[in-house]
């Protein structure tokens, strides 16, 4: 069972986002970059399936050179090899262009299952997984919280939570699954794992290496144009509910919610 995991780097969840003076991008100085948390669930699930069925796990990252660090982390967790798609022309690409580059790198690999995170916690679009599957002509199942591969390795059942219920979806292979929180608890890389990762193959590929035309990527080729970025709308200052005792405060709060906020 050969598995591919797509990987992106995102600002750590504790990052304060500052908008750049051009109002179209964010200030990236001092940002701590981490592996997208949802991608980490994908790496872990790939390793668990490999441990049961054998095969190889390939991590495909896309972005600037710093993404190497996250690919090495995945290799240290136990993945076998890495590919970094990196090219100055990719800077500012939208989801469809990103998916096009990923699909071009994946199509020549052997794969039964592809994992991506259900969304990047930066752009919050959640488009790349389904788009890679579409470009490769394979089905996808989004928001997997449990993945059961049939004993004979011919199909997969995925638990997918939707509002008020969980759907169990069956698919033939190959299939792309997007990972949701709850799928697993990702392992930490061990010290021997970190040592071994340094010797594992990590290949860099440019758009030209993938046979792609650089003019179809990057900021200029975006179909979803960023008009401007703004800080979140200011909330009007709140009030502290007064009272001598918890009962008084509760009574005052209930009254305010009923009379002023009109939500009760």
């Amino acid at each position: 069972m050969n598995i591919v995991v797509c990987l992106k780097q995102v600002p750590d969840t504790e990052t304060q986002i500052k908008i750049a003076p051009d109002a179209k991008s964010i200030v990236t100085d001092d940002i701590k970059w981490i592996m997208n948390p949802y991608d980490e669930f994908g790496v872990e699930e790939a390793l668990r399936i490999k441990e049961k069925f054998g095969g190889e796990v390939t991590v495909v990252g896309l972005g600037p050179k710093r993404v190497t660090e996250s690919i090495r982390t995945a290799l240290a967790m136990g993945a076998d090899k890495g590919i970094l798609i990196t090219d100055d022309a990719l800077e500012g690409s939208d989801s469809l262009a990103t998916a096009t580059a990923l699909a071009a790198a994946i199509k020549d690999l052997e794969y039964d299952i592809i994992f991506t995170g259900q969304r990047g916690i930066d752009d919050d679009l959640g488009l790349v997984g389904a788009s890679v599957a579409e470009l490769l002509g394979i089905p996808h199942i989004s928001l997997g919280i449990k993945v059961e591969v049939a004993e004979d390795g011919s199909s997969v059942k995925v638990h997918r939570p939707v509002e008020g219920q969980t759907l169990i979806i069956e698919s033939s292979l190959p299939v792309l699954i997007t990972a949701q929180k709850g799928l697993n608890e990702p392992r930490y890389a061990s010290l021997p794992g970190i040592m071994k990762a340094k010797k594992k193959p990590l290949e860099e590929k440019s758009l030209a290496d993938l046979g792609l035309d650089a003019s179809e990527f990057g900021e200029g080729a975006r179909k979803l144009k960023i008009v401007e970025l703004t800080p979140p709308p200011e909330r009007k200052p709140g009030k502290i509910v007064e009272g001598e005792t918890p009962q008084e405060k509760a009574a005052e709060l209930a009254k305010l919610l009923h009379e002023e906020a009109k939500v009760l």
Binding site: T230, G238, K249, L257
Partner: protein
């Protein structure tokens, strides 16, 4: 030239999801601003009679695709049918709800059509005759206004619970157009083999009108009982912070925040939640935020409309008693 606004309805078991009324209502406003027609698109099995209901919310036409293979939803079947309809009719704007289904379908459909997609938007506008969308990024730590370049239809999904629903007008009706459904069975690679329903009566966080949420200050899973009592009384869903979920007190599906659900209720009551930036990101678009916390310096108070500094184990049960006066 691409023409018309489409709202893709979402139904389950023959009932429209609330977000369907929201996008049909918003679709009406966008269609009016563009001076174009609004068409609702309804997919399902034996759904034709139900479809007419959407006329009350302002749609001019309703396209109905009725086929047993369109119930329940599968990505493969819905993408194939809607892609065919879009190619045949060339709409200018295509809207969906950013529900689990809408996010899945819009992602696959946009790739099939080769167009851009704006996910989980909180506002739509028409500026100089162009459709533009505003969407939170970095889980609401910033907002992006986006426009579409050579990308037809302009595709976007609307965050549930944000856009206003029109007052239904029962005197209105819409022209129903029955679509021919052409589906190759061997193109349907995924199928729903089982459905596990949540315990009955549980309100889904992303659709909830009110949410009572508990964090690290709850001290343990057994104490959520006091939140559940308040929630049941006021018709709220119960949520949790990442700290509470990571501690194993509540299921992953209850997590509100940047790596959990993004919610937008009318009332969000945060109990024992300090207000880590990643939690604030997930509930910042709530209309009224109440914080109950014993630490007066907790960051949650910066976001709250009403703050109660106090012990939640005293304040919450007292609040449960007090709200009875107003129900």
């Amino acid at each position: 030239m691409a023409q018309g606004v489409w709202a893709i309805a979402e139904q389950r078991d023959g009932e429209f999801r609330k977000v369907t009324y929201e996008i049909v209502s918003e679709g009406r406003r966008i269609a009016d601003a563009l001076g174009q027609e609004l068409t609702a698109v309804v997919l399902g099995s034996n759904i034709k009679d139900k479809a007419q209901e959407l006329a009350q919310y302002g749609t001019d036409k309703i396209i109905v695709a009725d086929d047993a293979r369109l119930d329940p939803y599968t990505t493969d079947a819905y993408t194939a049918v809607i892609a065919q309809l879009v190619k045949a009719n060339d709409p200018a704007v295509l809207l969906m709800g950013a529900s689990v289904q809408g996010k899945d379908l819009s992602a696959r459909l946009s790739a099939r059509l080769g167009v851009a997609m704006a996910q989980d938007c909180t506002a739509f506008q028409v500026e100089d005759g162009n459709f533009v969308a505003t969407r939170p990024i970095y889980a609401g730590k910033a907002y992006a206004k986006v426009a579409f370049e050579n990308s037809w239809p302009n595709m976007a999904t609307a965050r549930p619970n944000v856009m206003a629903v029109n007052e239904p007008d029962t005197s209105k009706s819409a022209e129903i157009i029955e679509a021919d459904v052409t589906l190759e069975d061997d193109s349907l690679k995924t199928k729903v083999v089982d459905i596990i329903r949540d315990e009955s009566g549980k309100i889904e966080l992303t659709e909830a009108d009110k949410i009572v949420s508990g964090g690290r200050g709850m001290k343990g899973p057994e104490n959520y009982k006091i939140l559940e009592e308040l929630a049941e009384l006021i018709g709220a869903a119960v949520g949790a912070s990442r700290a509470a979920v990571d501690a194993g007190w509540r299921p992953h599906t209850d997590q509100v925040g940047q790596t959990g659900k993004v919610v937008s209720p009318n009332l969000y009551i945060a109990c024992g939640i300090s207000g880590a930036i990643q939690h604030l990101a997930g509930m910042g678009t709530s209309k009224i935020i109440v914080a109950i916390n014993k630490d007066p310096d907790a960051p949650i108070f910066q976001k709250a409309d009403y703050g109660v500094v106090g012990d939640l184990f005293e304040v919450v049960p007292a609040l449960t008693e007090e709200v009875k006066k107003y129900l």
